[in-house]
């Protein structure tokens, strides 16, 4: 984090967002090649192991060639269909030929893809495939109608046509609870199917609350550490860092034991007569707040402590000696100087919280799951990678937006004392 060339010690606590600024030096000299050579492996690793897979994963959000792969002739034949009259026998024959020749797995993928856009399509397509495979002589539009009468529905053909393109806006729209209407306009999905906007707002709200709680809890802790004697400072720091040595899973599960209905906390409160029946502390929002604050607090404490340490005691004393009241000394002298630490800590906590998965999963209820739960669900459970990617893209966009906002916030407060 700290860079020897950084002129300002308090900057060491602010997040390094971009690469360090290049230092002025000789151009093109042999030294430059050596530097390049040293940086290259790291850079390559970053590109190959980080940027490339993420780009690959995100591309699933818009790239969806299943229908093109399974039904290539149909897609080609439908290119000049006018979408308002029933499709010609040539188009129907192309579909029949495709259905006869398609690989089982490819056809199933295409059928699933089509079913996302029109429910019932999966069963219809597979049923039609079975029928036309059974009868060798099946030809023309009528053969399709014989297999499944709903092929008379032009909306189905339009879905087939639009899904024939390798690129789709379907997943991104779904990730934002939007859908493309038959007339081409974009509108909100009906309330009983809308989900993700609620989840996105929930994720942001939860993260905000956790960040604010962390900030208030971290402040006195950081101040105690920063103003302790060096020896005790090290000990206190150790206590803050201790949780990092214990597996996150263990720490999260431990809360289940503590907070459950017949857990330590409830038993103690019952015995003390403070409550008469167990309070629900886990598998709800309260539990998630407790768990997340516990996990994320160090990320807030560390930058703030760093910033506080860098503030010379004399400044506040000087403010007092010049007649400033306590609040004034706090707001005009002390806070501006630790501002970079506060901003960095808050951003760090918030950003980590937005992407959190395991703690809410273990100690949250169904109504407390954040966006990453759904990304995992669509990746592992329903294996709808398109939607998982689209949700990831939304999460990434939120992160980038936040980083952008952070970059706009002034780095230090009004005072430039001591510089």
């Amino acid at each position: 984090m700290s860079d020897a060339a950084t002129p300002n010690p308090s900057d060491s606590s602010s997040l390094q967002l971009g690469p360090p600024k290049a230092r002025p030096g000789p151009r093109g000299g042999p030294k430059n090649w050596v530097t390049m050579g040293l940086v290259l492996p790291g850079l390559l690793f970053f590109l190959v192991m980080f940027v490339w897979p993420i780009a690959q994963m995100l591309s699933h959000a818009v790239y969806s060639p299943e229908v093109q792969i399974a039904l290539p002739r149909t897609v080609a034949a439908m290119a000049d269909w006018d979408v308002t009259t029933p499709p010609s026998d040539a188009i129907a024959d192309a579909l029949i030929l495709d259905l006869k020749n398609a690989d089982r797995g490819d056809l199933a993928s295409a059928a699933r893809r089509l079913n996302y856009e029109q429910s019932g399509f999966r069963a219809a397509l597979l049923k039609t495939a079975r029928e036309v495979r059974r009868s060798d002589g099946a030809k023309g539009y009528q053969a399709l109608l014989d297999a499944d009468k709903d092929w008379a529905d032009l909306a189905r053909w339009r879905v087939l046509r639009s899904a024939g393109s390798a690129y789709t806006s379907y997943y991104l729209l779904t990730a934002l609870d939007l859908e493309k209407r038959p007339d081409g306009s974009i509108g909100r999905v009906p309330g009983d199917r809308a989900l993700f906007v609620t989840v996105i707002l929930r994720t942001l709200w939860l993260s905000l609350v956790v960040t604010v709680i962390c900030l208030f809890l971290a402040f006195p802790v950081s101040y105690t550490i920063a103003s302790a004697k060096p020896g005790r400072q090290a000990l206190l720091m150790l206590l803050i860092l201790l949780p990092f040595w214990i597996s996150l899973l263990v720490r999260s599960s431990a809360w289940v034991i503590l907070l459950q209905d017949n857990g330590l906390v409830n038993t103690a409160l019952l015995k003390l007569g403070i409550i008469t029946e167990p309070v629900q502390l886990i598998f709800n929002r309260t539990g998630v707040y407790i768990g997340l604050v516990h996990v994320l607090l160090p990320f807030m404490v560390l930058p703030i402590t760093n910033a506080m340490r860098a503030v010379p005691k004399d400044y506040v004393r000087a403010a007092f000696s010049m007649g400033a009241s306590a609040p004034r000394a706090l707001f005009q002298v002390y806070l501006p100087q630790i501002w970079p630490g506060v901003a960095a800590g808050s951003l760090l906590t918030f950003v980590i919280c937005v992407g959190y998965y395991v703690t809410p999963l273990l100690i949250g209820g169904n109504q407390d799951q954040m966006l990453s739960y759904f990304i995992a669900f669509y990746t592992n459970q329903s294996v709808n990678w398109g939607l998982a990617s689209a949700l990831s893209a939304v999460l990434c966009a939120i992160m980038l937006l936040l980083m952008g906002l952070y970059a706009l916030v002034p780095r230090r407060g009004g005072t430039t004392a001591g510089r």
Binding site: N115, R122, R193, A194, L195, V199, F374, N380, V383
Partner: protein, 341 residues
């Protein structure tokens, strides 16, 4: 030195393990179910064939199978699947078509052999309850949804299956009409609206072992559960009971995962598991119905009373494979959206 020796011993076991006869990985439903299956089927088969049978936990759905197909790495060889999942997996090519000629008990099994599956067992899911927490025993789905008379948390499977049928039965739909009503948009809305009335009191189980544990510990007062698990808990002295009214019956099948490297061994295992004596043995220690009718005669009368045979089954409904094959994916999406709000 001791550490080195331990590591060396571990390595030897690991290496000889891979060099031994084939090992077959069977994905099945976990907990006491798998334990009993191991006793009645896997271990005797392993002994007879000289191979090893490993088990893996499978909780339904196609996610893991699809992931295996995507990555081309079939971690499982045989899987015990529910009827709707079986048909969907078969259509997607995630499981192998079954060659009926290789099934020894084909004649006895009859209709239980489908395109990609061999009937393994019939199970019922029933309303179980904790006898200590309940002043009076619930008699059906109306009571399950009646939080005034029967207060306390209750649990359902985290899936639209069972839950939607239960909601309609509780809402007064006749047993015979459940799927007719559920096939309409209004019927589905009606089921979700009924579930809404007890949403705050619901807990959702995902693994088949959870409900019996929750009921035994008093974590919930009522829950759907497989009969076999409840009988197991009862046998251990847990304060649980159940009622056949409102039960839901279905048949699970064995299937062979596409890409399995042990297809021959998989057929051998399925053949062993389809034998009348193996099925009778399993039904005797875990309350499921055999799919091989020849097993019926081998099951003692006292056991017959607690497994899902016809007389018990008739008090509830049979889960419609046809309905769920067509609607499982859509309704799962809607169910997930509903549960998360």
């Amino acid at each position: 030195m001791k550490l080195c020796a331990t590591i060396a011993a571990g390595l030897t076991i690991a290496l000889t393990g891979t060099a031994m006869a084939d090992s077959l990985t069977v994905a099945t439903w976990g907990g006491t179910f798998t334990e009993n299956q191991r006793k009645a089927v896997f271990d005797p088969f392993a002994k007879e064939s000289g191979n090893e049978v490993l088990d893996a936990v499978y909780n339904g759905g196609l996610g893991q199978l699809r992931a295996m197909a995507e990555t081309g790495d079939a971690k499982w060889d045989v899987i015990q699947m529910e009827a709707a999942d079986l048909v969907l997996a078969c259509e997607e090519g995630l499981i192998e078509p079954i060659d009926a000629a290789r099934i020894e008990a084909a004649a006895a099994l009859g209709d239980a052999i489908s395109e990609c599956g061999v009937g393994a067992l019939g199970w019922s899911v029933v309303i179980g309850y904790n006898t200590e927490a309940m002043k009076q025993a619930p008699t059906g789905w109306k009571d399950f949804f009646d939080t005034a008379t029967y207060p306390g948390k209750r649990a359902l499977r985290r899936s639209p299956t069972h839950a939607l049928e239960a909601a309609l039965l509780a809402d007064g739909v006749d047993k015979a009409d459940v799927y007719k009503v559920l096939s309409t948009d209004e019927g589905i809305d009606r089921a979700f609206a009924k579930l809404d009335t007890i949403k705050g009191d619901l807990q959702w189980w995902e693994a088949g072992s959870q409900p019996a544990e929750w009921l035994a510990s008093g974590n919930v007062v009522m829950s759907t559960s497989y009969v076999g698990r409840l009988e197991g808990a009862k046998g251990e002295g847990a304060p649980v009971a159940y009622n056949w009214n409102g039960s839901m019956y279905a048949v699970d099948s064995w299937a062979i995962v596409t890409g399995s490297e042990h297809v021959d061994l998989a057929y051998d295992m399925i053949n062993y598991a389809s034998r009348a004596d193996a099925q009778a043995e399993f039904s005797s220690i875990h309350a499921v119905a055999p799919t091989n009718p020849e097993a019926d005669a081998l099951i003692p009368a006292d056991i017959q009373a607690r497994i899902p045979i016809t007389a018990n089954r008739e008090k509830g409904i049979s889960i419609s494979d046809k309905f769920w094959v067509e609607n499982l994916e859509d309704l799962t999406d809607r169910f997930n959206a509903w549960i998360a709000k």
